[in-house]
C-alpha cells in the first residue's frame, strides 16, 4: 500500500467511522461507507489539508469512491 493510500484510508476511517477492511478501491463513500453529502464535503476538506492541495468543486464531485480519491491525489501530487 502506497503512502498516499494509507493516509487517505486513515482519514476515511476516522471521518466516516468505518472499519478499515471496508475501505477498498471500489468502495463508494455514499453507497458503501454510509457518508452523507456533507461528509463528502468534509472528506475533501480533510484531503486538501492533509496533502496541501486544492480540490476544485467540479473535481470534488467526481471523487465518489476511495479509489477515485487516491488517484486524484496521486495525480495532484505528481
Amino acid at each position: 500500500m502506497s503512502d498516499i493510500t494509507a493516509r487517505v484510508k486513515a482519514i476515511v476511517v476516522e471521518q466516516l467511522g468505518v472499519e478499515e477492511e471496508k475501505v477498498n478501491e471500489q468502495a463508494s463513500f455514499i453507497d458503501d461507507l454510509g457518508a452523507d453529502s456533507l461528509d463528502t464535503v468534509e472528506l475533501v476538506m480533510r484531503f486538501e489539508e492533509e496533502f496541501g492541495i486544492e480540490i476544485p468543486d467540479d473535481a470534488a464531485e467526481k471523487i465518489q469512491t476511495f479509489g477515485d480519491a487516491v488517484s486524484f491525489i496521486e495525480k495532484a501530487q505528481a
Partner: protein
C-alpha cells in the same frame, strides 16, 4: 449564562448603532470580536472603547473580493471565527415602479449576497470545530413588506430562507443558523424621522415605543450562546408586538 469566554465573533456593520451594540454585548460576555464596516473611524473608536479582544477589520461589502477575503482576515486576526453576525445592510428606497436595476442590485448585493459569501467563508472552520453560530440580522420588513422597500424586503426575506436552508445542512455539525428581525429601533436612521412620522409608527407598536439597540443585541447574544444550541432555523422577532409572527 451566555458566557462567550474563548469564543471569537465577527460582526459586520459594527460602525452602525445596532452593530456596535451587538459587538459590545458579545464582547461583554467574554468574546473576542472582529469589528467590520466601511467606515474605519467609528470602528477604531469602538475598538478603543472595548479595550482588549477587539480587532478592526474594514470591508466594503459591495466588493465581492473584499467580502471573500474578510473571513480569512478575521480568522488570522482572532484565530478562528466561531460566531458570525451578518448585520450590515443598506437601503435604497424607491417606489417599485420607479426602482432602478441599480437600486435593486445594490441592496441585494450588500444585504443578501455578501451574507451568503460570509457564511460560506466561515463554514469550513465551524465544521472542523463542530461548533458555530451564524446570526443574520433580518428585519420585520422581510416578513411584512413595506412600501418603497421592495428591494430591502426581498433581501431581508431572502436572508431568512437562505439561513433556514443552511441550518438544515449544518445542524448535524453543531452549527446553528438563526435570524433576528428587528422592528423599529431608535438609531441615527430613525432619529431623522419627524414627529408626525414617529407618531404614525408608534400607533402601530403595541409596546408604545421604539426598541433600543441593546434589545437587539440581547437577542443576538442569546443566539450566539452555548445555551441556544437546540435553536436553529428560527427567526426571533424583536418588534414590541408590531407584528406577531
Amino acid at each position: 449564562m451566555f458566557d462567550l469566554t474563548g469564543k471569537t465573533a465577527l460582526v459586520t456593520g459594527a460602525s452602525g448603532g445596532i452593530g456596535a451594540e451587538i459587538a459590545r454585548a458579545l464582547h461583554g460576555a467574554g468574546a473576542t470580536v472582529g469589528l467590520s464596516g466601511t467606515r474605519v473611524e467609528p470602528l477604531e473608536a469602538l475598538a478603543a472603547e472595548l479595550g482588549g479582544r477587539a480587532h478592526v477589520l474594514p470591508c466594503n461589502l459591495s466588493d465581492p473580493e473584499a467580502v471573500t477575503a474578510l473571513p480569512k482576515q478575521a480568522a488570522e486576526a482572532m484565530g478562528s471565527v466561531d460566531i458570525l453576525v451578518n448585520n450590515a445592510g443598506i437601503t435604497r428606497d424607491n417606489l417599485f415602479m420607479r426602482m432602478s436595476d441599480e437600486e435593486w442590485a445594490g441592496v441585494i448585493e450588500v444585504n443578501l449576497t455578501s451574507t451568503m459569501r460570509l457564511c460560506k467563508g466561515v463554514l469550513r472552520g465551524m465544521m472542523k470545530a463542530r461548533w458555530g453560530r451564524i446570526i443574520n440580522i433580518s428585519s420585520i420588513v422581510g416578513a411584512t413588506g413595506n412600501p418603497g422597500q421592495g428591494n430591502y424586503a426581498a433581501a431581508k426575506a431572502g436572508m431568512i430562507g437562505m439561513g433556514k436552508s443552511l441550518a438544515y445542512e449544518v445542524a448535524s455539525r453543531g452549527i446553528t443558523v438563526n435570524a433576528v428581525a428587528p422592528g423599529f429601533i431608535a438609531t441615527a436612521m430613525t432619529d431623522k424621522l419627524n414627529d408626525e412620522q414617529k407618531g404614525a409608527i408608534m400607533g402601530q407598536i403595541p409596546a408604545g415605543r421604539m426598541g433600543s439597540p441593546e434589545e437587539i443585541a440581547a437577542a443576538v447574544l442569546y443566539l450566539a450562546s452555548p445555551e441556544s444550541g437546540y435553536v436553529t432555523g428560527a427567526t426571533l422577532h424583536v418588534n414590541g408586538g408590531m407584528a406577531m409572527l
